[in-house]
Amino acid sequence: MLFRRSRNGKDGSPGLRERLRRGLARTRSRLGAGLRRLAPRGRRVDDALLDEVEELLVEADLGVDLATELREVLAREARGRELTGPEALAELVRRHLVDMLPAPSAPRPVAEPPRVTLVVGVNGSGKTTTTGKLAARWAADGRRVTVAAADTFRAAAVEQLVAWAERAGAQVVRSQPGADPAAVAFDAARAARARGADELLVDTAGRLHNRKPLMDELAKIGRAVAKEIPEAPHETLLVLDGTVGRNAIEQARQFARVVPVTGLVLTKLDGTARGGVAVAIGRELGLPVRYVGVGEGIDDLLDFDVDEYLEGLLAPDGDPQAAEAGA
């Protein structure tokens, strides 16, 4: 299993392993199987091979700059050398990718509960689903969870969140559609404190990062929570669709300007998406990935681990179907 679940594997159902395998096989196989295919034992590291590596990296959404840079590093270190085995090239790429990613930062200490987590992102990235899954995970850990349904804009967003929260056994603070989201967040902060909740999750409406009024509104939500709980939000998660391209860098930059983004969530990685742009974001803005969404079930949100992620991206044991599709 590539990603370790943070709670103690209570879910021992046979479906889990399979689900993870299926979900991650796609991500894993892209670079992994690709590299394995083009770098068999004894193949020389020449320009043609380097071209192919660069292509794989671009196709994983790492971006041309990073791909070119990696290509040059590889050229310096390995050109003309014969590869000792299929793992050799993957190991080389992996090592350099690890260097590029920021080290995971320690979570901010919480002086007095609840710990507040603000969930932000553009439309359709998967915020509500992520919020629901986080609520479920923490509730299952025995923590008291309050959820603020501060997406008062999108149709049925509140109902979607309530459905998740009911499954999770979390309390929801909600208001009328079209209500001021900052007011909802403030009420939720007050309610969470009153009932002694350990965690407060604030789901926000999707907004494109280039719409200033909507970004101002987000900043206001942050301030509203801080009014009740001075050091909040302790964590601000930017949710990125795993299929997103270069624009994600701009998204991260703009969101980080109005709220103190502390980490990323990569969703929908159970499709063909690879979420490689996270490497570029990590490099440029120092934002670590905290969680990965790999499915539609309530348990399908996993802790992110740099080593395991890249291992997954590069490991040579991808499923044959995907390797074929990539051929």
Partner: protein, 441 residues
């Protein structure tokens, strides 16, 4: 800041032209620039490769290298090819409805914007005298049916409401029956979001297609998608018979290379573009404009068009006259501010200007414009005609009258003077028409 592609290619070729003839190798250097621009715009890697091979062939065939402006010619070929690939004549074609009721089916990945788009499409059809019925058949995601119901209601559309149980095919059949009974001539089918690796759900889509026989089967794609656009679009295209693409979230600042990937692998034209959260924010897709956007040349056409919509002919004439006489008074300045405000949210306008990257959180403040107008309104005609009479006590009076501060008044005057300088540059030496051509007609 992103340098315009035309400039970059132009420089590449100019550098070389000084040696005499421009060669094939020079063309390849220019193509490398284009490759970079396309990849940075998220166009799929292989799509880029095939595309450039075609451009190269065309460019050599049309002997653009021998022309006096090879840089521009190469860009022209690239643009033409882009437009062609994005659907050419078929791009932006309206819905082709047939059957009673006509069934329009939307498919796409989760979060691409299907339900929102359904509301917009329905509104568009209703405006054309049709009677659409929204039919939610996403039974998988929590509250998906409710979302469709709410979207439909907000758009003033009829909707086939149910509790989310049953099967998608069953619910679709019901909706069509319902439509027949109630005189709805179009059924808009909102299918579940898919992650296309899931064969089971793909099979569901195929069964739906067989059952409802849609006259239009549209793939909804997020304009911000990266390299994955190729893979997902191909998977959908292999399972159902697509008739077109709807590109969503084009009001963001993504370059939207996904449009090209999707059009290339599905072989169907992009028909509509989603450009905002409001229910009427759906436009026929414009391939030429998109080509410019992907290439980073800015949405010049979009700017001109929205300027045309807002810019009053007479105002434009007055302005031009002012420019020609090289006098640009505060009155003219006020008129300009008004025109700018009419063109739409300032950020949106600036986003269309090539090279004018809007620094987010920067002072693109609509309220500032309003404040400026208020200040000018508080001036006497004499003051508006000649700003030089504005001494300290006049400024104080104006600030009081407009509910602003003297600093605000000073800022306005500074901006006005800057604008005046700009106008002189624009309007000098009988080139007064240039500004008008840009903003007016």
């Amino acid at each position: 800041m992103f340098e315009s592609l035309t400039e970059r290619i132009g420089r590449t070729l100019d550098r070389l032209r000084s040696k005499g003839r421009v060669t094939e190798a020079d063309l390849d250097a220019a193509l490398r620039e284009i490759r970079l621009a396309l990849l940075e715009a998220d166009v799929g890697f292989r799509v880029v490769r095939d595309f450039l091979a075609r451009v190269r062939e065309k460019a050599l065939g049309e002997e653009v290298l021998a022309s006096l402006t090879p840089g521009q010619q190469v860009v022209r070929v690239v643009r033409d090819e882009l437009v062609e690939l994005l659907g050419g004549q078929a791009a932006g074609r309206p819905l082709q409805l047939s059957g009673s009721p006509a069934v329009v089916m939307l498919v796409g990945l989760q979060g691409s914007g299907k339900t929102t788009t359904i509301g917009k499409l329905g509104r568009l059809l209703a405006g054309q005298g049709r009677h659409p019925l929204v039919a939610p058949v996403d039974l998988a995601r929590p509250a998906a049916v409710l979302q469709a119901v709410q979207v439909a209601r907000a758009a003033g559309l009829a909707v086939h409401e149910h509790d989310g149980t049953g099967t998608p095919v069953g619910r679709a059949r019901e909706a069509i029956e319902h439509a027949r009974g109630r005189g709805h001539d179009v059924v808009l089918l909102d299918t579940a979001g898919r992650l296309h690796v899931d064969d089971e759900l793909m099979a569901e889509l195929q069964e739906l297609e067989r059952t409802v026989r849609p006259c239009e089967l549209l793939y909804v794609a997020d304009a911000m998608t990266g390299q994955d656009a190729v893979r997902s679009a191909r998977a959908f295209g292999e399972h159902v018979r697509l008739t077109g693409v709807i590109l969503t979230k084009l009001d963001g600042d993504a370059r939207g290379g996904a449009a090209l990937s999707v059009a290339a692998v599905t072989g169907v034209p992009v028909r509509f573009a989603g450009v905002g959260e409001k229910v009427d924010a759906l436009e026929p897709f414009d391939a030429a404009r998109m080509a410019g956007r992907i290439l980073g040349m800015g949405d010049v056409l979009g700017l001109i068009e929205s300027a045309e919509k807002a810019f009053d002919e007479r105002e434009a004439e007055k302005l031009e006259k002012a420019l020609r006489t090289k006098r640009f008074t505060l009155d003219d300045f006020r008129a300009t501010l008004g025109q700018i405000r009419k063109m739409g949210p300032l950020e949106q306008v600036l986003a269309m200007v090539p090279g004018a990257k809007v620094p987010a959180g920067a002072n693109v403040d609509e309220r500032q414009l309003v404040r400026f107008e208020a200040i000018i309104n508080s001036m006497t005609p004499a003051e508006r005609a000649d700003h030089r009479v504005l001494n300290g006590s006049r400024r104080k009076r104006i600030a009081r009258g407009s509910g602003t501060t003297v600093q605000d008044v000073n800022r306005l005057i500074k901006q006005y003077l800057e604008m005046q300088k700009l106008m002189k540059a624009f309007g000098g030496r009988g080139r007064g028409g240039k500004f008008r051509r840009l903003l007016g007609r």
